[in-house]
Structure formats: C-alpha cells, structure tokens
C-alpha cells in the first residue's frame, strides 16, 4: 500500500465537481483501490456523496491510500490531482 498525507488548501474544501472528476478518474485505474481517511473515517474515493459527506474543509489533513495494481504510479497521479484541485 502507498500512502500520502495532504493538507486541503482550496477555500471550499473538497467540493462536488473535482471530487466527481476524481471518482471518474479512479475508475480507470483497474485493480487499484483509492481511499481518503480523515480522523477515524475512511471512504473509497469512487463514492462521491460519501466523500462530500465527510465535510473536508480547508486546512484539514487527510490521508490518501492506494492499494493494488500499479500503486506507485497511481499514487503519484492522485497526488498531482490533489495538488491541482484541492
């Protein structure tokens, strides 16, 4: 498993549109599971509404985990995505 921590910088936090794009993006990485953890809650990023329901705000630290096929490569792509949108 590959993990990284990320501090949300977007003023609106994790909002609907980029979260939706991320969910779609991850569906292309077959065999890899990507989750976001905040506090004691861990949610699969393909579940848009559950991710939004976590109420992740600016300044929050989340842990992103990638498990499965090509996890190094997938994690790098996801981290790039977070830097761009969140």
């Amino acid at each position: 498993m590959k993990k990284f921590d990320y501090v949300i910088t977007d003023p609106v936090g994790i909002h609907a549109r980029p979260a939706g794009v991320l969910a779609k993006e991850v569906k292309n990485y077959e065999g890899a599971t990507v989750t976001i953890t905040k506090g004691d809650r861990t949610v699969d990023v393909r579940k848009l509404m559950a991710i939004m329901g976590m109420g992740i705000k600016q300044g929050d630290t989340v842990t992103v985990s990638v498990d499965g096929a090509n996890e190094e490569e997938v994690a790098a792509k996801i981290e790039e995505f977070f830097k761009t949108y969140f």
């Binding site: 003023p11 609106v12 936090g13 609907a16 969910a23 579940k47 329901g53």
Partner: protein, 558 residues
Amino acid sequence: MITIQGKGVSAGVAAGPIYFYQRAEAEIQRKTNADFETEWKRFKDAQAKAIEQLGALAEKAREEAGDEAALLFETHQLMAEDLDYEEAIEEAVRGGLNIEAVIEDVRDRFAEMFASMDDAYMQARSADVKDVSNRIIGILTGAVQGGIDSDVPVILAADDLAPSETVQLDKSKILGFITEGGSGSSHTAILARTMGIPAIIGVGSQLKEEYAGREVIVDGGTGAAVLEPDAETRARLMKKQEEQRRHQEMLDLLKGKENVTKDGHSIRIYCNIGNPEDVHVVLSNDGGGIGLFRSEFLYLGCDDYPSEEYQFEAYKKVLSDMGGKEVVIRTLDIGADKQIGYFDLPSEENPAMGNRALRICLNRPEIFRTQLRALYRASAFGKLCIMFPMVASVWEVREAKKLCEQVKRELDTEGVAYSPDVQIGIMIETPAAAVISDRLAKEVDFFSCGTNDLTQYTLACDRQNNDLGRFFDPHHPAVLRLLKMVADNAHKNGIWVGICGELGADLQLTETFLSIGIDELSVSPRAVLPLRQKVRESNVAQVRDGLLGALLSDQTPV
C-alpha cells in the same frame, strides 16, 4: 387591480397571463418488485437517460448563461452516476422494494445528510440530490418534463423552482417569474438574472391559485406584480419596459470593456454592497471590485454581537466569491441614523455628531477586536482592504492601526494564516479629514470619500431633513474643492483615492472626478455600466482645464 409585493431579484418589466407551473407529482406506490434483475435494469436505463438529459441541459445552459450555469448540471450528472448513490439503491432493490420507492428513500437519506452538514456549500447540495433523484423518478414514471402547457407566453408562478426546472423551461414561453418562496441567491433568482428574465420572489400567500390565467405585470426592479392593472398603471409600466429594454441593450454591449476615456484616462469602477449575497450582482454588472462593503448588516441582522466565526464566514465568502478582485470592507459604522439595541448606546441630542462608527470602536476595543480578527483571518481568501469610517484626527487612525497590529500578532502566535498585503484606508467624510488629508495620507494606503456625510458636515445641513432640499447641495463648490484637495494630497503621497458616496454615480460629475484624478468610483452594481458608458464618452484633456478653472475660480457663475 391587486398589487402583490415581493422581492425583485431580476430587473425588468413584463406583462402576460399568470400560469402556475405544472409539476408531475404522482404519488409513488410502495410495492414489492418482480425480481432484482428486472428492477435493476429499469434503474440503469433511467439513470442512463437522466445522464444524457443532464448533458444536454449542461450544453443548453452553457450557451444561454455560460460555464457557471452548466457546472450545476455537470454536478448533477456526477451525482446520478455516483457509486455511493448507486450502491445504496442497489442494496434497497435487492431488499425487494420497487425502484421508484427506493429512489425516494435514497433521495431523502442523502438530502438529509447534506442538509445537516455545518457548511453552507454542502447544505446547498441537498437540493441537487433531490433534483437528480426526482429526474430519475420522473423518467421512470413517465412524467412530462417542462412544466408549461400554453400556446401564449406567460408569467410563470410557482412555489419555488428547482434549477433543472428553470433551465428546462421553454423560455420563448416565459415573460417573467413570481415565486412564493426562494431567496436572492437561489438558483431560480440567479438563473433568471443571468438569462435576463424579470423575477419576483418571496410573495408568500399573496399568490393565489385563483389568479391563474388573469393578466399581470411584473416589475422585477421594484418587486411589485400588478394583477389586472388599470389603464394608467399599464401605460406607465409598459413605457418603463420599453425604455429599459432599449437602454439595457446598449449597456450590455459595454460588459468586458475598459473604463477608459477617449483620451486614454482610466478609472476603476467598483461596487457598494451591504450583504454577501450581493456579490453576484456585482459580477453580473461587471463591477471591477467592491469599493464599499458595509459590514453593519452583520450587526443589524443579529440580536447580539455577531461572533468572530460568523463574521469570518461572511467576509470569507465575499472575498472568495470575488475571485481575487479588490474588496474594501468598511468596519462597523453604526450610531447616527443606524441604531442597534444591544449596543445600549445612550440617546443623543445630535447623533450625527455623536458617538458613532470608529469612535464607538475605539471606545469599545473588545468589539472592534472581534471584527478585526475576523477580517484578518478572511484576508487569506482574497484581496482585502480594510477601511475605517468617521475619521477626524491622525491619532484615531494610529490607534486603529495599532489594534490591527495587535490582532496580527495574536494570529501569528496562534499560527492562523492571514494575507500580508491587506491595505488599510480611511473614509474621508468629515471636513477635518479632508483638510488634514496631507497628514492622513502618510498613515494609510488609500482614501475613499463618503460624499453623503462629507456634504452634510461641510454644509452643516442635515441630509435626512427633507425640508432642507435646496440647501443640501452635493455639487456645492466647497464639497468639490475638498474632494480635489483630498485627491491631490493622496497622489502627492503615492496612495489612491476613491469616492464611495452616492455622488460617485452622478453622471453630471463624472468628468469633474476624472479631471481631479479620482482613481476609483464605487457605486451600486446597477450603476456600473451607465458610468462606464459616461467614462467612455468623456474626453478629459478637452474639459479638464475648463472644469478645474471654474471650480477654483474666485468668481461665482451666474
């Protein structure tokens, strides 16, 4: 003739028969499904169709109202195909319930989850989940989308309209909106405004079903809807409609254009607002920034002192919604004509000259400190300028700045982020401040002239006393000479100077302001484009010497 009064949220005048929006609200039966495979396929088909419809709506919205409007439907699309949503539905269908009832249940569950979150953005997503779910249910039950079955264009009446309902409407059939509920920032209001259809919201129970089919004229500017108007009212409103239409067409051509004169002088045109909700009006009128955000509304709308957190959210919203454009927030300006119960201010013989604005803040630093903390924290989200009202002396500015420094130190200690580039300015609204503006200019980053009070104090003339009409003259040479003096002192010290009083929008003075070198005019959002038009028609080089010569001359024109 019956007049219905609501809140006008999209300007314009329109006349036509009232038509009540037809919404297919067939009661959904709860029953056991035939088998999982059949029921699941029904969902997948309806889901695919919903996604297709939403894609088409997004395209339509993009053409009619731009990317912002399209984004809404793209979000709906993502929700419709969301794995979490789909899994919740799948599980319930496996439980044996029919798909229509399942979607209702899942809709309510997610809507409730969003509604209960402590974040305004997420709360608003509750309406989106409902809208998406109702679309899928509509497809499954074969309900007709569109809502209007009329051969002639109508004034559409409804309790409130969901965003997808607004966009799906055949706009060739709609002349205006009246809704019972809604707010100025609801999707309906925003879309109505961007699409240029007059809209009145919040009329409540004044709107009666029995009015269906009867003629009404709506005035989205005043918020009034007149049912079966008499001949005189009709003639007046129809004339207004024609004038507005022609005028607006001309003004809309100026959106995106620069505020520059024929001879190349440019000036910033910003907006005055009193509420975070007004930001979209600023943007839709192409305002270059906010030149005066009256923070009093936060205090006036509360029963007790608003908390730091509450203020922070409001300031942050304005700053982030303005997307990096300058936002001048004026610190608390109460007293005089604006009284607030919980401040327990003793009544005064002469409140205009009494304990007001910055004077209250300096006398009660604990109140001021809360506001300054909220402002500095919000500064991390945009381009903030803080402005102090009612300054008469240099020491007042120094004392206020000292409080700002204290607040910044506190935030440093707490590790809370704020922008290092916050500008600090003052209102010039007392003759004293104008006369010592050379000294004040060394203390601050900008001046903004509050011409309403500056006129009242300079002429010793109460602006709220209607009997003083001809004595209250904002064009008085004393006022204009003070403005020139302030502008000269600002520029000698390398700072900018604006006008945020009503005079800023006075087109008779635009050339004078350009001539004395005012850098920024802050006006009500609807005044931006008319002012831009005036600026673009002006030629400062041609009029400057004449105007300034007349202003400074010792000869009184006859």
